[in-house]
Symmetry: C2
Subunit: 202 residues, 2 copies
């Protein structure tokens, strides 16, 4: 298994470099678990699949606390057949993929219910791509069933689903969508965008 994310943080202000550099320290506690590489477009983090969204949540919440309109955008992937297995990506808490689709929906909901609130309102949208197997729409529709009862479901849009709420349960919902749907050892990708402090009306 190989799991990780390409992440980009966009603070919409003249001092975007300062906001990014300050926010990066929020990831310090995750660094021992990750391999991290940065270039001019994105930062790669490779590590345990269930640590990816908590790390991105803390990075984004730190940037959003500046009050500036900020967006974080990421491509998250697990099980890509083009990538080698990597021991750093071993799940810390094990997998729950032996469960039925209905049981996985219930487990995902329980994880979101227990997510700590951060006091930071966000809007997010994402697309889930379970690749390389015949029933990809079954897993997507199962995931949508979970999302609708997550407490942060906003609405379905073309090509993606929109969430809204506190950053804690919103990132927990994204993490559960990524971890629990799609084939257990299959190739699953998830692209998401999360926004805070937008001046646009919802």
């Amino acid at each position: 298994m190989f799991s990780g994310a390409q992440i980009s943080l966009y603070p919409m202000c003249d001092d975007f470099v300062g906001v990014i550099l300050k926010a990066i320290s929020a990831m310090d506690s995750y660094r021992p678990n990750f391999r991290i590489e940065t270039d001019d477009i994105s930062t790669l983090i490779v590590g345990p699949p269930e640590q990816l969204f908590p790390a991105m949540r803390d990075l984004f919440a730190s940037a959003a606390a500046s009050g500036v309109h900020c967006v974080l955008s990421a491509t998250v992937s697990r099980g890509c057949p083009g990538e080698p297995d990597d021991p750093i990506c071993t799940p810390i808490s094990g997998s729950s993929h032996e469960l039925s689709l209905a049981e996985r929906i219930g487990a995902a909901r329980a994880h979101v219910d227990s997510a700590k609130k951060l006091g930071q309102e966000v809007a997010a949208q994402f697309s889930l791509y379970p690749l390389g197997e015949g029933h990809h729409m079954d897993e997507i529709y199962g995931c949508i069933d979970f999302l609708k009862t997550s407490g942060v479901f906003d609405r379905s849009k073309n090509f993606c689903t929109k969430l809204r709420g506190d950053a804690g349960p919103v990132f927990a919902t994204l993490s559960e969508a990524f971890l629990r749907f799609g084939a257990p050892q299959g190739h699953v990708a998830l692209d998401f965008t999360v926004s805070a402090n937008s001046p646009s009306p919802c």
Copy 2:
């Protein structure tokens, strides 16, 4: 067939609203062909698949001409089984999917060779997701063969491919990757990020 994109433009400056509003006029000539809807995260454009990337190119080039560090990020999709067929999405120039993989690679290369240069340097990265059929990695590897001879190939990264060069051939390369690979009537999604005027070293 249903085709379209959810697009977001991020100018990294205090006057991000002004840069966005000014750039939007670059899409005026495409408006008669598209259905367009905007919310606080992204703008949906639905229309002919071969018009999607030219419209996004002109929007982004207009914003980048401000000199501000700008990023455009989009989720592009065709053939999603969850979306209705829509006459507005009929390809203007027909499809070339009856061709073999090798012939499609050659045709894609010819289109990129003829792309007009805009004088705007950009870096881009993208992930191609051919969904719901068994040989998705064959189409991805075929697409990578095309990319490596596109003239704007930069390097392979984890989960994505990076391009660099003039905005004209870079957007043409993204468009060809989207149009010519994956099953003809299949569900294909492509997520990409394009960046200009970055202060970061490459």
